[in-house]
Structure formats: C-alpha cells, structure tokens
Symmetry: C2
Subunit: 604 residues, 2 copies
C-alpha cells in the first residue's frame, strides 16, 4: 500500500502573508462584529487547524482513496478515521467557528474560517466535504428557518451531532434544476410528504453522526413550472421530537453509490425520498423560493470549492517541489561531463519552470479565494452602506472566477506536479496522481465551469449597467497606483493595459446581448471567463508583489527575504508568461466569433 | 461493474479521408517497394483491424483497468482476454504487417500499419503496448542483429511466439541514460553476463508468449563514461538453442510491479538481471553504440505514442459526442420556457464548443501522426535522394511535435469529454475517466514532453544550419498556395503570417544558442514546442480543409457532405480560436525571457 504524504500540504507562511500583509485582516478587529478578536486569536485558530489537519485528516488521505465507502443492506460504511476526524474538527470548535456568539459560535471572520478550512482541504479533500455541507446547510437554516427549526436542526449541526447535505440534482436533471420532479404534498399538520429521487448527494448517508439533515429542493403540488416553483425542505434522516433527540427513522433511503475517479473518501449517493409514502419534510422559509435561498449560500460555497481546488494544487506543488530538490538526475546543458554527479532536478530549467508555474497558479488562487472571503467579511461587518454595496457587487462579479479559475489552473498545477516526478508521479506510490484525480471534480460540481461562464457573461458583467465591471476597474486602479509608487511599474502598466483592452471589448460586445440573440452573445463565455480569470489573478499577483516589496524595502533577511523574493519572481512570471494568454482569448471575444454555433451538430 | 464502451472509438471515415484524400497514399503503390499493393488491400487491412479491435481488444478495456496484472511467487498473471487479443492480432498478420516480404511479412506502408494499429490503440491502449514493444524491438534486431540473432529472436517475434520489451531506465536514472549502471561482462564464449536493475519495463513479464525478448541497455566493463559507453543487448527470458525452441530459464526476474493511475492493463515491471550472476546477454551490433541503435527506432516509436494519445482522445470525443446528442437537459438562452421539453445538450453553445475543441485536437493529431508515418514511407520507398533526405529531415523536426502535441492536447480533449458528461463523466460508469487517466502517461513515456522540447529547440531547429526549419516552411508554403487556389484564403493568409513571425523569432534567438549559455537558450523550450505544435497542426488543418473543399466543390451529398463541412468548420475553429494561442507563446520565446532561471530554487 502506498504511504501517506506526511509533508506539508499548505504553506502557513503564505496564508499568514495573505491574511496579515496583503489583506491586513487585523483591521477587521476594529469593527463591532469582530470586536473581541485580534491577531493572536486568529493565529491560534490557524495553529489549531494546522495541527488537527495533520493529525486527523492527512493521515488517511490515501487510505480513503483505497477504501471507498460501501453500501451494504442499505447502510453506508465509512472508515473509522473519518468519524474521528470530524470529531476532532468539532471538538476544536470548527463546526461553529463562523457562527454568531449568541449561538455559541466563535463569530470569526469568514476569511479566517476559510483559511483554517483550507488546511483541512489540503490534508484530505474528501473528508472536508462532510463538514463543508453541514456548515453550508446550517447557514441556510440560520437565514431562513424558524426558531423551532433552528433549535431542532441548526443547534445539533453546530455541535457536530447532526451532519448536513444539499439535495439539488436529480438523475434526469443534473444542472437543469428547472426540471426537478421531486414532489411535496402538504399534510394536515403543516409538514409535507416528499416523493422523488436525488442524485450526486455527497455525505448522503453514513454512520458518523446521530442524524443527517438533508436540505431538499422539491415542487409543492400545484407549484408553477420551472425554477419559480421550487421550494426548499428540511428532511431529517431521523425525525426530531420536541426533546431534540433523533426519533423515528424517516422514509429516505440510499439506493446506490456513485463510484468516481477521485474524491473517493466522500461518499456520493443516490437518495430516494418517500418510497413508502412516508417521508416527512419541513418547508424552509416560504414556498417557491427554494432556489433563491440556496443561492444565498452559493457565494460562500463557491469560494470553498475554489479554495478546495486550490488546496489540491497547493499540496501537489509542495510535494513536487520537495521531490525536485532531493531527486538528482542528468546534467545541465552547459556542462554535460558524465564524470560530474547528476544535479537535483530543480536545477533543470524546464523543471523549475513547472514549479514556478504551479506556484503562480496555486498561490494566485489562494490570494483570490482569501480576497473573496474577505469581501464577505467586508459586506457583513461594515456600517458604511456604500462599502457594503460595493463588497456585495464585487463578490457577485468575482464568484464565478473564484470557483472556476482555481479549479482549471490548479488542476493544471496537479498535471505539472505529476510531470515533475515523471514516471514516479504517475504511480500510486506518490500523492500527485490522487490530487490530480480528485481535483478533476472541481470543474464540475457547485455549478460546472461552463455554467459559471454563462452566469458571468450573461448576468455578472452586465448587472446594474455594468456597475460590477466599473467597480472592478476602480479597485484594480487603486492597486495599480500603489504598485507604481512601490516601483513595480512594469506590472502596473501591463495590468492597466490589459484591463483596458479587456473591458473595451467587453463593453463593445454588450450590443450583442439582445433578446433573441443571447445564444450568440454567450457563445464564447468560456473564453471570457478564462480571460477575466487571468486578469483578476494578475491583479492578485500585483497585490502580493506590493506587499512583498514593502516588506523587502523595509529590510528583511533569511527565509522571509527568500519568501518575498519568491513572490516578486512569481509575479514577474505571471505577468511575462501567463498574462500573455489574454492575447489568445481577447480576439475570440472581441470578434464575437460564432464558428461554434455555425457548426451544425450533424457535422461533428 | 462498469459496462464496456461498445460504441465507435475511432472514425474509419476520418482515417480513410486522411490516407486516401489528404495523403493520397495510393500513390505509394507505384513505388517498387509497395508494388504488389493497392487501395483494395489497404482497405482490407483496415477492415480487419477495425473488426478485431472491436471483437478482441475493446471488449475488455474497462475490465483490464479493474483487474490489474498481479505478481505472485515471481510470476505475473494477466487476463486471459489479453492473450486472446494478442493471439487474434498475430493470427490476422498484424505482428508482421510491416515486415519485408522476405521475412514472410506483408511489407505494408508504415502509414497503413500505423492506421491499422490506431484501431487497436483506440480500443484498448494497455493491450496495444504488448505488440508495440514487440514490433519496435524486432525492428532494432532487424536493423542491427546478426543472421543468427534474427533467426533465433526476430523470427519468433514476427510469429507472435515471442514478445519483446525495451529496458532503458533504471531506478536511479529515469531519463538520465548517461548514468545507467547495468554492467555487461564478456564471457569466453562471446556472450555477456549482465548484472543490474531496470525500472518502468512494460510487458516485462507475463505468460502470454513462449518467451520474452528483452532489449537491454548496459555498460560493458571498461566502457567510456556517459552515453558513449552504452551498449545494447538481447536478453531472452528463456535462452534459445540452435533448434530455436526456448530452453533454459535465464537469470532475469521481475521483482516488483509499478501501480499506475492508468494504463493498468499494461503490466509495468521492475526487472533484475543477474541476481545469480548467470544472466546471458547477446550484444546487438557493435559495443558502445546502444543508444544510437535505440534512436533508430525512436521516430517510429514516438509516432506510435503520439497516435496512442490521439486514440484515447478520439475515443473520448466520439463517446461524449454520442452522449451529447442523446442527453437532454436545460433550455436555450433565447427560449427558456419551462413548459418546453429540455434540449439535447449538443444544442448548448458551450457544450458544442467543447465537442468542436475535442474534434480539432483529435482529428488534427490524427492527421499529424499519419503525415509523419507517411514521411517514413516516403523516406524508405523513394529513389529520389533529395526527396529521401527531405523526408528524413522533416521527420527529424516533426518527431518531437508528433509525440508531445497529441499527448498534451488529446489529454485536454479527454478533460473536455468528461466535462461534456458532467458528473457522469467523472464516474467509473462511463469510459471518459479511464481515457483521461490512461492518457496522462503519454506526456511522460518515450521521452517526457520536456525532453522533447529540449531536443526540438537544441537540436532539431538548428540542425544542418536550420535546414529542417527551411524545409518545413517550404512544405507549408506549397499548401498555402493550394489553399489560396481552393478559396481558403483566410486560413492560408493566417498560416503564412503565423509561420513567418514564429520563424523570425526562432532565427533571431539562434544567436543565444552559444556555448556556456545553452541554459538560457533552452529555458523556454516548452513554449517553443507548444507554439510549433499549434503551427504544424494548423498546417494539418489547412491540408484537411483543402481536401474537403475539393470534394465539396466536386459535389457530394448526405453523410459525405456533412463530414466535409465538419472538416471546414473545424479548420475555421482551429484558425480562429486555437491558433491565437501563438500570441501567448511568441512573446515569451521572442523575448527569451529568463524569469525561470533568475528565480533561485530557494525562493520556491
């Protein structure tokens, strides 16, 4: 059996750099919402996350790949290590780290919570799914549930006694939620009876927790067709009585498991509700507003998915970096004397290029994910309504990028990590191949990247008369000015120029966004999203370079100096190598080329 | 257990189009070497390949992934289907399809043989490794072996009684062959005694054939250091007596199996030679020329690897295309009425984009692989020395591209195929994920793509005063002229312009290729290879468009018309979308940016 990777899977130094130097998150402590917090507390939270991630999550990452959950006699079996991991996570307070103090939570900023979660994701992405869904489902109940629902379901979720799921897709309607068929019938007692099947339900069954709380999209009898007739329900595995203890087994069954290429530690189920016409469901909020409710937690969920993808890339980067420093092979092009010893492969230009490329992808994605998480904090904690609206708008326009870009480019990083190891990287003796298999999912779930692209081009770019675009431009401008002042003119100039031509093409294309012609307007959505992704990550690199330059200019030595020099080099690589990709996508977008639509399906 | 994919994995129509319309391979029949052949024979060969690939190879592709070969008590066990497949392949004459008539072979053109082999690769890439290595090893013995060696080893390999391997890498020296340590000691009888370990040996042990013929790189005692002291040996698993029958078991043992992410049907072994100081080896050709001999078959082997990668991409493309035509989901952006039925997903712009992108990758790669194979035929069969030298030169410059480009972009095609299916594509119920896992190897073996890039930039571009580059330019020019005459001016103009600016930057950079500065010159090799890959595949698309246009202009209907229209659309997509990537790579190459080398390993 392959050994577990016991090395670092995420750089604490990089997390701290982003939180404390780039985002200067300590400032949040001045806000009433976070009044009792300070940097020391933030650091202690991260310390704990780092420790438990290593001791309880990383230790069975490969094992969970080799031992998929099984379904026997209708019961799902998972590894004992998983239950222990979720237990340790809860015990340390992470299940309620984000929750308000009046719920017994720590009321930590989202950026700190996401940073802490990142350590668990980097250690064991499959295991992270269980708490992720619980926290997400809990947030929806907090926002829209009744007090009784909060007491019965949210409370034990925060205590880790109940875990949660999200039940959206159905076999016949994956991303097409308008066509879901699960039906809800009102009962005399005000509850509903649910009937239908759900597909792709992660953590849909297990014996880790006392109970499972499913949030289920369904259509109340007589509801309008399409997405405007979808409601959201709480469906507990065991119904919960007034005493709060799990009671009678509800009529929800797992009838199959999906067996995937990766993410094998996260059980993925097919669930059927109401096979015996006895599935009890509680309406959450008002009828027909289910999708709207789900979308409230979507921004945060998509930040999590983006950061999860980032962490798989990060873990692969650090492992392949360590390998490249140890492994000797071959000689340099300018001195091939076979009598000399072979060199560590990091000395080879193309190997170092593959490492640097991984670095700009994973560190760029981390900066982006934490920036977005910080915007959630900004939105929540500021009392300045303009600042709040801007944070909200920025989040809207960034979310598709925050989800899609890391999944695309950190998968690319995983591909490069394998390549650094060569044949070894392709074997199951090293973790690179598992990171690669696992990360392939992140382009698909929480809205495929194609759907993110359509959302971005059809809604986000144009919303409020393109106010999001304008705001994005202004925020970039502020950093461009800082970069110029910091002596980073090359990158500042390039970002300004790239931003201007990308925005110009975007605005010119708005004229094509006319009713009846939206198919044409949207045909190159993926090129748009790729292009904006690189533009935004270029901006994130500029922000990191400004912070690094400031620290270097103030004087530093040793590891800190090397770290900051690495940030500057990586920024340079991103601008000189990666940003050039904009020249690939821009002419496609600018010409609004319709070759794809002009190609008849019969010609394929 | 997941079902086997019983659909088409390669388009016969596309193979025929390339061979007979684009390459016009029938012309070869006019050459003395192929005098007894004609189109009817070529078609019959392809018919047989297509039939046997479906009946004996495709039927256990998934099964071979789920049931890896096992090593028990020093013996490797493989699936019975594998032995049956190799048997049917041999029975139908494919093991000697390429061999000269005087060896009992069919003396078929390489392009026909590679096209036939492509069907087996598309059906079951793991199983194809066994005959591929046998044919390659046999070719080396034919070129450099003595008559006795040919009788004892080559003859039974052509009969499929013996299978072959290539033993190059060692655990401490993967791609760094200069450092191999396996030793060969001359015995009084003229044979050698071998001692050492080899790594990554595909088909290194099994019970499919009576015997296994290993070709092994080793260092004769006292040989010069480095690659100039490496010799090539024949090491049979069972020694072969004068009667040609396998005799005594030789001192070569399998001491471990590599367990990979993919290619699981192809057993990959660690071999030890001479554990008991009794490993008999026969020198092939002259001492110290082993690497040179291996490189003689390298061009063809790399064409095979490129075509193998292409076939995995092709199989994924066809499967996802079929799925996209059947699966209904969602509605079009200009008519989202939920009362209308959902549309087949091929109607969605971004899904069709993913299909078209797969199409240009896999069909472009197929055209390239067959073009290169045809150049081998041209080199062998022409009596015009200029034509022969040119074919040889063109092969030299194209080989790194033929190996690397398909592996890179057909892996990308596999990634897109998964995306077309969404969550389903990520499960093991569909073949897309296996194609993706399998294809990841092709960037690594037969010389990593990074090594291909260095070979391309350091040797191939500059060899003979850049004569290869000039020739490539002239060959493109001939097709550019034809394209203009055929009314394909848009693509002709673009190819000319791209070629000219790529060549200009390349030539300007030659000044950096100075002794002591080769590290700098080579630092962006991968960008070079990517850029030339797209340039050359753009040319391949232009050639296909010319042939398609000719057929359309001559008048055709139905499926043929749709096929030709598809070629024109795909060419347009390649030029308007894919060729723009050159604008990403060109400035990196043109500026000879050295950010990578300027980044200290400590900064990573």
């Amino acid at each position: 059996m392959a050994a577990e990777n016991s090395g670092k899977t995420l750089s604490r130094e990089d997390v701290d750099f982003n939180l404390f130097q780039v985002l200067q998150i300590d400032k949040l402590a001045a806000r009433p919402l976070y009044a009792d917090l300070d940097r020391e507390i933030f650091s202690a939270v991260l310390d704990t996350a780092e420790t438990i991630a290593a001791s309880h999550f990383q230790c069975f990452y490969r094992k969970s790949d080799l031992n998929e959950p099984s379904l026997e006699d209708g019961v799902v079996h998972t590894l004992p290590e998983l239950k222990a991991a979720i237990g340790a996570f809860t015990e340390a307070g992470f299940m309620s780290a984000h929750a308000p103090a009046n719920e017994g939570g720590q009321q930590l900023p989202v950026a700190i919570v996401q940073a802490a979660y990142a350590f668990f994701q980097a250690a064991n992405i499959g295991a992270s799914i269980y708490y992720f869904l619980t926290v997400s489902a809990g947030n929806v109940i907090r926002a829209f549930g009744t007090d009784v629902q909060k007491t019965r379901f949210l409370r034990p979720m925060l205590d880790g006694r109940f875990l949660g799921t999200m039940c959206l897709s159905e076999p016949q309607a994956g991303s097409g939620l308008a066509d879901i068929r699960t039906r809800a019938t009102l009962r005399p007692d005000g509850s509903y009876s649910l009937k239908g099947s759900k597909m792709w339900i992660s953590a849909g069954d297990h014996e880790i927790s006392e109970n499972i709380v499913h949030l289920v999209l369904a259509r109340i009898d007589g509801a309008p067709p399409g997405i405007k007739g979808i409601s959201l329900f709480i469906v507990p595995k065991f119904d919960v009585g007034n005493d709060g203890a799990p009671g009678q087994r509800n009529d929800v069954r797992v009838f199959g498991l999906n067996h995937k290429m990766g993410y094998r530690g996260a059980v993925n189920t097919l669930l059927s509700f109401g096979d015996n016409d006895d599935c009890t469901a509680y309406l959450l909020g008002e009828p027909h507003r289910g999708l709207e409710y789900m979308f409230v937690m979507m921004n945060e969920a998509r930040i999590s998915v983006g950061l999860g993808a980032t962490m798989l890339g990060y873990a692969g980067y650090l492992h392949s970096l360590e390998y490249a420093k140890q492994r000797t092979q071959g000689r340099l092009p300018d001195n091939k004397n076979p009598l000399l010893p072979p060199v560590p492969i990091i000395q080879h230009g193309d190997v170092r290029r593959m490492l640097l490329q991984q670095k700009v992808f994973v560190e760029g994605a981390l900066a982006l994910g934490l920036y977005a998480a910080y915007m959630v904090d900004e939105e929540r904690s500021t009392h300045d309504t303009t600042a709040r609206d801007e944070a909200s708008l920025l989040l809207e326009i960034l979310t598709p990028i925050v989800k899609a870009w890391p999944s695309e480019y950190c998968l690319e990083a995983n591909k490069l990590a394998i390549q650094v190891l060569g044949g070894y990287g392709y074997t199951r003796d090293f973790p690179e191949e598992q990171y690669y298999r696992d990360n392939r999912l992140n382009l698909i779930h929480e809205g495929t990247n194609g759907i993110q692209a359509i959302d971005f081009v059809s809604r986000k770019l144009r919303m409020k008369d393109a106010a999001g675009l304008d705001l994005l431009g202004r925020r970039m401008q502020a950093d461009i000015a800082d970069a110029e002042a910091a002596g980073l003119a090359e990158f500042a100039t390039q970002l300004r120029a790239d931003r201007d031509r990308v925005f110009e093409a975007t605005r010119a294309n708005f004229r094509n966004a006319a009713p009846g012609r939206m198919g044409e307007y949207l045909v190159n959505s993926s090129s748009y999203l790729d292009m904006y992704g690189h533009l935004v990550v270029g901006w994130m690199w500029l922000r990191q370079a400004i912070a690094a330059k400031r620290i270097l200019d103030a004087g530093c030595t040793g590891d800190t100096e090397a770290f900051m020099q690495g940030k500057l080099s990586a920024c340079q690589f991103f601008f000189r190598h990666e940003m050039k990709r904009i020249d690939h996508w821009l002419p496609i977008v600018a010409s609004n080329d319709t070759t794809v639509l002009d190609t008849s399906p019969d010609w394929l």
